[in-house]
Subunit: 271 residues, 2 copies
């Protein structure tokens, strides 16, 4: 693992530092809001746009599929197509993490894979706890080792007394009152909330109490958390509503196009 040196070693930082993201701090109520008085030293480079991080994870998956099929190198064009983005964006995304390509050739699949894994912090295991063992929680718990290894589920919680002690996917369910203790002792890194919306905030508070810094929230509520805690939301209803918007928009578009076409002439295009 431990890289010795950057390939096209251009600037400083020989250490194995991990990059930061930009635009992360809270909106900053007004004016300067950075602890010290300094005008933000920040190493300038070495920040990865939040949007790029999400895509790097996609590239990683595409790469693993390619590796399985025996690919050794891949061009930005191929990888981009497979990932559903354009190649300029892909190259820029990759450039945020270093320069691992060979001009005229492309990227080595395994090099790129391990570099993305390094940046995403996938070299160490992140322990996961799932709270709320209903339909969804069951589905999540049964993933066993979570998607693509690296995210072992190490604790389950629910309120329902009938569930406590029952093993789901090989792990016994604990009561949510034990969240702080168990998360702390098992060093849980990521809490997944799959409870009804009314319970979500209380559960979240206990996770934070137990030292969890990252939360994946499936409950349809906006969680309040201290600023060092990172929350990501997966919201089915909102996804459907966004799709609904597009249905409506398209229907409208088609309708007005039809009107326009009818006005212009009776043309038998198929489109």
């Amino acid at each position: 693992m431990a890289r010795v040196q950057r390939d096209g070693g251009d600037d400083s930082a020989p250490t194995t530092e991990l990059p930061a993201v930009r635009g992360q701090g809270p909106p900053a109520v007004n004016g300067r809001a950075n602890g010290r008085g300094a005008p933000i030293p920040a190493d300038k480079a070495r920040v990865i746009p939040e949007a790029a991080v999400a895509r790097l994870a996609v590239y990683l998956r595409v790469l693993s599929g390619m590796a399985e099929q025996g690919a050794v190198t891949v061009s930005s064009e191929e990888l981009a197509t497979a990932a559903g983005v354009n190649s300029a964006k892909l190259r820029k995304d990759i450039s945020y993490i270093g320069t691992y390509g060979t001009r005229g050739v492309g990227y080595e699949v395994d090099v790129l894979t391990s570099e993305i894994e390094r940046v995403l912090g996938l070299t160490r295991q992140q322990k996961v706890a799932v709270v709320g063992i209903g339909n969804l929680g069951h589905a999540l718990a049964n993933y066993g080792g979570f998607p693509g290894r690296g995210f072992p589920v190490e604790a389950l919680f629910d309120v329902d007394p009938d569930l406590i002690g029952i093993p789901v996917g090989g792990l016994p369910v604990n009561h949510i009152d034990d969240i702080p203790d168990i998360c702390a002792t098992r060093a849980i890194a990521i809490g997944v909330i799959a409870t009804p919306p009314t319970a979500a905030q209380a559960v979240c508070d206990r996770l934070v109490e137990g030292g969890v810094h990252c939360v994946l929230n499936f409950a349809p509520v906006v969680l309040g958390v201290p600023e060092h805690v990172e929350v990501r939301k997966v919201d089915l209803a909102i996804e459907l509503q966004i799709l609904s918007f597009h249905v409506a928009r398209n229907a409208e578009q088609r309708a007005s196009r039809r009107t326009a076409a009818a006005r212009a002439s009776s043309n038998g295009e198929v489109v």
Copy 2:
């Protein structure tokens, strides 16, 4: 329902047209790629940024919670706080759909609710089909009427012969070969893919064949679709990996801060 006229009717378009989103077309391989030769007429206004659409759905939920508690009006500040955004952004988002507030007062909860519902196309029902009745599919099917009504699940599909005919959440499971027929006859608007990744593309193709224009994809693959089809992705592994990135970044930050602190002096700050 049918609005008679915009409140602060400033520009044209007295019809009940629905807005479009910006930046929607595919990346366009290179150069001009819009069907006709026109330099994109586009009505200029009346486009809602994609990012705003997602937030409007959030506001909608927060509003319904407020309505339940008997609130009649709400200020941009209150609504914004409850939705976890800042008030300027909220006001701008709302301004994309019209001007429904009262200066010095705020917004009427029910007016705003129904206007957002209108824009999101929630006034008509969007029929949903769920494909892949495994753990996740079960969870989805059992939502019964999908989140917040408006999205009735009207068809279920799987390959497993043991499942065909079995009712799940009140609906019998059909074979995936019947997707095109059934989706067409039942006028399914949205297809939800909860299959293993290997099956996802084939399922998606059949949904499209059945006239489905919107797909919500839970399978960890990038789907290829004709350009009139809208796909949204919910990807557990990627969400976890993004969180993992933040864990790694924070750990790194803490480490370097510790180093810096140690270097500067043995200071007993808490932070």
